[in-house]
């Protein structure tokens, strides 16, 4: 007798065994008996669209055996809402599963659905996410969820100190840089309307722009070859009037074309190539691109040569 077939609670249900479409199905999995049985009962209750306590516990049983089962998660959410269960209790349970299955993303969609039933952010939520980031500070699903959370509960003003602590720990954490962009700039952009170009054209408060430029520059000084703050800095400069030229002196601290053996950042060279080109100093721009192609970033030599081509310069041969 199985866990379900032998249970009084389930006596009225006729399980639906898996249909494999014929003999020798492809990629057939040797399920455990427990899993096979639970799935047969799931097919049966789903076919009946049953929303009950026993269905809820069945979903839990299957999720523990296979947390990547999107159908079970979605069905669980349906049952959960139909029964008007306590969302805080569900979060407690989710926390345990999430820490165990770090790469799973059904969990995060489910968490979001549950969270919509809670009027204000539970005090345990941010500490739990911090725990997730301790295990993987670049987890894409967790960061996506955090963005949703910030927007949903309007947590904009409290994010920067936490992000600062993450970047102090690892200034190369690009996910943290992206989140900083999100709370500082995307806050004012509707994610569901317009085009990317519309969003890019929105200018920001000059004080905030100045603050963010200083922030990125300070982080670049810690490790000038770290691309994340350079990307951030370039983005910030577009949020003010005027071009990239404002970064010229700063970038030249790390890449002086007169001392080509002492370049400390290929990203500074890349930026300078754009600055010089915008200032009509094509020769200087070409020189920066040549240094990148020949010496400082030769795996991308085709790209640097393409950029030289855009300036009307001939390509650099590198062998």
């Amino acid at each position: 007798m199985g866990k379900y077939s032998g249970s009084e609670t389930w006596q009225d249900v006729v399980p639906i065994p898996q249909d494999d479409g014929g003999p020798n199905p492809l990629a057939a999995i040797a399920y455990t008996e427990d899993y096979s049985e639970a799935m047969s009962y799931l097919r049966a209750v789903m076919a009946d669209n049953e929303k009950s306590e026993r269905a809820l516990s069945l979903t839990e049983d299957i999720i523990v055996m296979n947390p990547a089962h999107y159908t079970v998660w979605l069905y669980r959410a349906d049952v959960f809402f139909a029964l008007e269960k306590d969302p805080l209790q569900e979060l407690d349970w989710l926390n345990k599963i999430s820490l165990k299955y770090l790469k799973n993303y059904q969990i995060w969609h489910h968490r979001q659905l549950i969270m919509t039933k809670i009027p204000s952010i539970p005090p345990t939520e941010l500490p739990f996410l911090a725990q997730m980031f301790e295990k993987d500070s670049k987890n894409y699903h967790v960061w996506s969820y955090r963005q949703w959370l910030v927007r949903h509960f309007s947590l904009w003003d409290d994010e920067l100190p936490y992000l600062e602590s993450l970047l102090e720990e690892d200034v190369r954490n690009n996910s943290a840089w992206n989140h900083r962009w999100f709370v500082v700039f995307s806050r004012y952009v509707d994610p569901s309307a317009g085009t990317g170009a519309d969003a890019a054209a929105i200018k920001a408060d000059p004080e905030i722009v100045a603050r963010e430029m200083e922030y990125a520059k300070a982080k670049i000084r810690l490790a000038p070859q770290n691309q994340s703050p350079w990307n951030y800095l370039r983005g910030v400069v577009k949020k003010r009037e005027g071009g990239l030229a404002v970064l010229r002196a700063f970038a030249e601290e790390f890449a002086d074309l007169a001392r080509e053996d002492e370049v400390r950042s290929s990203h500074a060279l890349d930026l300078l190539a754009d600055v010089y080109a915008a200032e009509k100093e094509e020769e200087q721009a070409g020189k920066a691109l040549e240094l990148l192609a020949r010496k400082y970033d030769p795996i991308r030599k085709n790209y640097w040569n393409y950029r030289r081509g855009l300036l009307g310069l001939k390509e650099v041969e590198v062998e």
Partner: protein, 447 residues
């Protein structure tokens, strides 16, 4: 400098990058570890684990074709209990395996009956029998059937029901959910549009599609705008507006745009192309040669496809349509670097391809590493042959001839025997499979 006695491996693949910051963090530590595990394998004979005879004159090992074929056949099962995590993704396992086998030149059959119980009468396929329809397994089923071929197989798909179900996924902001009640992201859009274009489904939204209440009339309504909102301040493309730029989503978004019109027209219209190219290009690392998926992340063999597969689309966006006889205009990335990384670092001795040397192979990586290798071995271009009706996906052609910007032939560092079957840059299946499939549905008067 090359070692005069050793194989001809350029210094760039044998030495650390010229600029390295002294500040150590978790990211730089992991990067250093990755370089450390790749360098001996990239150095060619002498330092690696293979015998001298496994390398060609460029210091590149050969493709273990037979072992990979055997590995893939085993992935078609029966699979042990531990694979239960794939119980909602069996169509993926099948798609990855078939794609790998097709690229290696193998024929495959025996698919349709496995998929039949996964189809729901309300349209679409789930990951298994009794599972709700989801665009990812549906995409995998459709492409797998295309690879297996045969009209009987094609006709198991209930296209009208599929069309109705896809209508439920379309959202008022222009994007697609991955399933009813599921998340909305760029995968949803790419998988849905792939099915719509391959199966010749009407672009008009079904009458009962909820998005109609918001004034949308077509699957294409608001879609390119949605995709454009996924470009981030870094220049790359994220899974949903405002999340972090990521290589896999870049491929999905660019492919999707390239289904809506010619890449030259669609991509620059909705994407800041110079920023995207800069971001994509920065994903290739040296000395490893492979691609990473995000800024400051590690290289992973699967991005050979997700990032590597963006280049034909980008090149078509820059260069416009080409004649077959026209010389190509040079690559924007290092094909040599990618081929070296794949052949030297991604092959498991016992068969299968992997993320990086310290990881085990699996069907997913085997599929996308091989797809990346195929794309690095061929020049894919958008042809200016007379356009077909409908979506712009059958205009792609491929050639074995790869040239530099100056017109000279690019030397290949792999052996002629190691060339794979060319892969369609949008559908990620062989060209012939896509064509036969699309022709069959185009020939149908009723749907």
């Amino acid at each position: 400098m090359d070692d005069p006695d050793g194989p001809n491996v350029p210094a760039i693949f044998k030495t650390l990058p010229p600029i390295r910051d002294s500040l150590a963090t978790e990211t730089s530590w992991m990067q250093d570890e990755t370089v450390k595990e790749c360098l001996p394998l990239l150095a060619g004979a002498g330092a690696g684990t293979r015998s001298l005879f496994d390398y060609n004159e460029h210091g590149v090992p050969s493709l273990e074709r037979e072992k990979h074929i055997e590995y893939l056949h085993e992935r078609l099962g029966p699979l042990p209990e531990g694979f239960v995590a794939f119980d909602a993704a069996r169509p993926w396992l099948i798609y990855w395996t078939l794609t790998g086998l097709c690229l290696l030149g193998e024929n495959v059959d025996r698919v349709a009956q496995t998929f039949t119980p996964m189809q729901n009468s309300t349209g679409g396929f789930g990951g298994g029998h009794g599972q709700i329809s989801h665009c990812a397994p549906s995409y995998a089923v459709v492409l797998s059937l295309a690879m297996v071929g045969g009209h009987d197989h094609f006709d198991i798909i209930d296209r009208r029901a599929l069309w109705k179900w896809l209508g439920e996924l379309k959202q008022s902001d222009g994007g697609f959910r991955v399933c009813t009640g599921g998340e909305e992201d760029v995968r949803g859009a790419y998988c849905s549009m792939t099915m719509i274009s391959l199966l010749g489904l009407p672009l008009e939204l079904p009458p009962e599609a909820p998005a109609r209440a918001h004034g949308l009339t077509s699957f294409l309504s608001g879609l390119p705008e949605y995709l454009s909102r996924c470009q981030t301040f870094e220049g790359g493309i994220s899974g949903a507006p405002q999340t972090e730029a990521h290589g896999a989503y870049a491929f999905c978004a660019l492919s999707c745009l390239s289904m809506l019109g010619s890449p030259q027209e669609m991509i620059p219209k909705y994407i800041d192309l110079p920023m995207l190219i800069s971001w994509l290009s920065a994903r290739q690392h040296a000395p490893e040669g492979g691609f990473a998926g995000r800024t400051n992340k590690l290289i992973d063999g699967c991005y050979s496809h997700w990032v590597g597969g963006c280049w034909p689309l980008i090149e078509a966006a820059i260069n416009g349509p080409k004649h077959a006889e026209e010389p190509n205009s040079g690559s924007l990335f290092s094909r040599e670097g990618l081929v070296r990384y794949i052949l030297a670092c991604c092959q498991q001795d016992t068969g299968g391809l992997r993320d990086k040397p310290s990881k085990y192979p699996d069907a997913y990586h085997t599929c996308y590493v091989l797809a990346g290798l195929s794309s690095a071995q061929h020049y894919s271009y958008y042809s200016n042959a007379p356009p077909m009706e409908g979506l712009a996906v059958l205009q792609w052609r491929s050639s074995q001839e790869i040239r530099k910007r100056n017109g000279q032939l690019q030397r290949a560092v792999f052996e002629a025997d190691d060339r794979l079957v060319p892969i369609h840059p949008i559908y990620v299946i062989p060209y012939a499979a896509a064509k036969a499939f699309q022709d069959w549905f185009a020939s149908k008067i009723r749907f």
